[in-house]
């Protein structure tokens, strides 16, 4: 393919069109509500990458990427995991409980809570599998429905049995020092969570493209009847993919809790909206898993930058949520148009 042809394909690809379109529409919204885009956008960029904010953006990138994997892995098997919040909270509270209640030697004090968090997230997610394969309740519905009680349960645990005594604040006591994630190069925000999630992303990309399991997951997602016909145990594969997604979510929760401020604060996991930023990023990457880290980076940039924009230019950070929402809408419209094009 010639260079102009490559350029054309990149420029006309769904993610680029969607982001450009969303930014254009958001600019229009800014003009309508009387915000000066010439002030807002520089503030957004500064909020995300300048003035020492880059570190914070990268720190937010870690759980968002983890949640993107939580959505993307089941999606490869054709299951929509919208219960990320519940799995995230379950993973976080489990990790906090293990770190607080189980005396562990250094090293294990970090590793075991992470594993426990991943297992908890996986268990919350896998409940949806038999509901889908046995009872025909779509995972998109059941994961979402299971999410709310899981978040509430975590909230209950941190308010009562695990609460820091005599403070009245819904948070656990600080975790023991041994359970803190090692910081990366003396940074205040960055921990080994970043290399860990990067390695897991690479592992997922490898498994997806070059293993038997990855092949069977993709076949199940592309055409379940084809996979069943080929002898793939599609129910088991779908359950495995959901459990794997849930484990990524649970691990993300554990990473947040074991990172600064080293405690489970009620609402701190779900309030930043990692789950749906991640869903937007995966949808934006459409069918290409390799692109997922890039789209996650882009949306994290918008998310964190939006807060900076609010601080500096007085522009409500909801505007960046408008960008995100518009991206999803445009991706959906493009996908629908493509499907409706006569074959």
């Amino acid at each position: 393919m010639s260079a102009p042809a490559v350029a054309h394909r990149v420029v006309a690809s769904a993610p680029v069109v969607a982001v450009a379109g969303a930014l254009l529409l958001t600019t229009l919204v800014m003009l309508v509500v009387g915000v000066d885009p010439a002030l807002a956008y520089p503030a957004l960029v500064r909020g995300a990458v300048l003035d020492g904010n880059l570190e914070y953006t990268v720190a937010a990138f870690v759980p968002t990427l983890g949640m993107a994997l939580a959505f993307a892995l089941p999606l490869r098997a054709g299951e929509f995991n919208l219960g990320g919040d519940g799995q995230l909270a379950a993973g976080g509270v489990t990790a906090a409980a293990v770190a607080l209640l189980v005396p562990l030697p250094p090293g294990a004090a970090v590793v075991l809570p992470l594993i426990a968090g991943a297992v908890a997230g996986g268990l919350v997610a896998v409940v949806a599998a038999p509901l889908s394969t046995r009872l025909g309740i779509p995972a998109i519905v059941s994961t979402l429905l299971i999410s709310a009680p899981a978040v509430s349960l975590a909230s209950y645990l941190v308010r009562f049995p695990l609460a820091e005594p005599n403070t009245g604040i819904a948070q656990t006591p600080p975790l023991p020092d041994a359970a803190h994630l090692p910081a990366l190069g003396g940074s205040g925000y960055l921990t080994i969570g970043l290399p860990l999630i990067a390695a897991l992303t690479a592992l997922w990309l490898y498994a997806d493209g070059r293993t038997v399991l990855g092949y069977e997951i993709r076949a199940t997602g592309q055409n379940r009847e084809f996979a069943r016909y080929g002898g793939v145990r599609v129910g088991r594969v779908a359950a495995l993919a959901l459990a794997g997604g849930g484990a990524f979510a649970g691990l993300s929760g554990a990473l947040i809790v074991l990172g600064p401020p080293h405690r489970f604060v009620d609402g701190a996991l779900t309030a930043p909206g990692y789950t749906f930023t991640a869903v937007a990023a995966v949808l934006l990457a459409s069918a290409r898993p390799v692109v997922v880290p890039l789209t996650v980076a882009l949306l994290t940039f918008l998310q964190v930058g939006g807060q900076g924009m609010e601080r500096e230019a007085g522009v409500p950070s909801q505007l960046t949520q408008i960008v995100q929402g518009l991206i999803i809408v445009i991706v959906a419209v493009l996908a629908t148009l493509r499907a409706r094009r006569p074959r």
Binding site: G209, R210, T211, V212, L213, G214, Y215, E216, R218, A219, Q222, N223, E225, F226, A227, R228, Y229, G230, G231, V232, R233, P342, R343
Partner: protein, 493 residues
């Protein structure tokens, strides 16, 4: 003047010409049967009449006036009603509620239940369709649910009633009662279009018949002046069949596939297969004939293991294993729904089933997957730009060759082929036939299901005929199409 007319209706779906200049006219108060094989264009034609599809050319007339139907709502407004093969009822609502839905009697902004029940009772009285207005639809037998569907159409003042394969779901007793109802309804001046492929029914209840084949009208008859033979000829057509190539030696040895007294029921307890028994020996091709929906799906899914472990099916003497038995190579009819994942590459499509053999531990090296695919593409002369293009981008014939390549290179002794030449051109058809003959000559037991009788006659050593889930006849491979056609439509004698 006719109650409803289709004039010169043409409808194309991509490369498929589903309806090709069809004329069909239904008089007031007549029961008009529309017959044809699967894929003859009946459903498309009825969908056009009911506003579900718009014709590419031609027009629809009601009482002599041209009407444009953009949706079923338009069709209902013009006095058309349709009873679909799959009922569209709310099981949690009562009979009356299901009937009045969309045109409810309202009092003070709320559904007037008493008025609804009364209206439905009057309606069922008038047409002799007995149904309790206050019964919940979920608890009713299939035959009564169908009556509710008919009542719903009549409640909306349907003057032309389309019934799509209405007896497919009914017991013989219910079928009898349905026919009585249809005659009563027709006597009130309502025109009935009965879509079916069962000739006995056409002759029993129809006044006139229109026969379709490959999207064209191939016959118009008055039932009192025709018989099953004439209809079969119009339905299946008299294509000149070339002399059948046979082998010198007869198949021998213990059967590789044996089905013993197999009965399969669907979720509603209706028998889809009844006491089916047959064997296929090594080096033998056994053909399976029958109109669509006679139990082919259930039989083939049982034989391949896709219905789970079925003890009545024996492969080389032992029961079939659940979830795709590796001893069976299976070429499915539904190329996009089952045989392939259209968006996946050719390489990944021909991989299915062999992925664990090709893997070293868990890793599945792409180079190996591609090399194997290239080898199959060469050996089976599949034309594809590369093995990395989506299989959905290949022509139907090449995709089919890829499916055959995958299945026939499995280490299997039983081959099940379902409509293996559907939608492929003549050249590929020859190639597919050669491959099936080659599998037979290498000692495989081949079960060939086809709706093309000439294909069965070309290939099969014996032909079994399925009708309503039973093997009703067995013919030698050189049976005439007339004999087969009669058995397929349940015509006795």
């Amino acid at each position: 003047m006719y109650a409803a007319e289709l004039v010169g209706v043409t409808k194309r779906f991509g490369p498929v010409l589903a309806n090709d200049g069809i004329d069909l006219a239904v008089a007031r108060g007549e029961v008009h049967a529309v017959v044809g094989e699967n894929g003859a264009g009946k459903s498309t034609l009825m969908s056009i009449l009911y506003g579900l599809h718009r014709p590419d050319a031609g027009e629809v007339r009601r009482d002599g006036h041209r009407v444009v139907l953009r949706s079923p709502t338009d069709a209902i407004r013009h006095g058309l009603g349709m009873v679909h093969q799959r009922f569209r009822l709310f099981p949690g609502l009562t009979v009356a509620e299901n009937i009045v839905i969309g045109a409810e009697p309202v009092r003070k902004g709320r559904l007037d239940r008493a008025a609804a029940n009364e209206a439905v009772a009057a309606l069922s009285e008038r047409y002799g369709l007995r149904a309790d207005p206050s019964a919940l639809v979920g608890g009713l037998p299939v035959g009564v649910r169908q009556r509710v569907e008919i009542l719903r159409a009549l409640y909306r003042h349907a003057e032309v009633l389309i019934l799509d394969e209405p007896t497919a779901v009914l017991t013989p007793g219910e079928t009898e009662r349905l026919f009585e109802v249809l005659r009563t309804v027709a006597a009130t001046g309502v025109s009935i279009l009965l879509v079916t492929h069962k000739l006995s029914e056409v002759l029993a209840v129809g006044d006139r018949v229109t026969v379709l084949r490959q999207g064209r009208v191939t016959g118009r008859f008055t039932t009192s002046e025709t018989d099953a033979d004439e209809l079969v000829n119009a339905m299946i057509g008299r294509s000149l069949t070339p002399p059948v190539r046979r082998r010198a030696h007869a198949p021998a040895g213990d059967p590789l596939l044996e089905v013993r007294d197999l009965t399969v029921r669907d979720a509603d307890g209706v028998a889809r297969l009844s006491e089916v028994s047959f064997t296929v020996r090594p080096g033998e091709i056994v053909g399976l004939a029958g109109v669509a929906g006679s139990g082919q799906r259930e039989l083939i899914d049982s034989v391949t293991g896709l219905r789970g472990a079925v003890p009545e099916v024996l492969l080389t003497g032992t029961p079939v294993k659940a979830g795709r038995d590796p001893r069976v190579a299976y070429v499915p009819e539904d190329r996009h729904g089952r045989a392939t994942a259209p968006a996946m590459s050719v390489a990944e499509n021909v991989l299915m089933g062999a992925q664990r053999d090709l893997a070293s531990r868990w890793a599945l090296p792409r180079a190996k997957v591609r090399a194997r695919a290239r080898d199959l593409v060469d050996r089976f002369s599949i034309s594809a730009a590369s093995v990395d293009v989506p299989i959905g981008a290949l022509s139907g014939g090449n995709a089919q060759k890829a499916v055959l390549a995958r299945e026939l290179t499995r280490p299997s002794t039983v081959v099940v082929a379902e409509e293996p030449t559907q939608g492929v051109d003549v050249g590929v058809r020859e190639r597919v036939h050669d491959l099936l003959r080659a599998a037979r000559d290498e000692g495989a037991a081949v079960l060939l299901q086809s709706s093309e009788l000439s294909e069965l006659r070309d290939l099969a050593d014996r032909i079994l005929v399925l009708y309503e889930g039973r093997v009703v006849a067995e013919f030698p491979g050189d049976a005439t199409e007339k004999e087969l056609g009669r058995a397929m439509t349940g015509a006795t004698g």
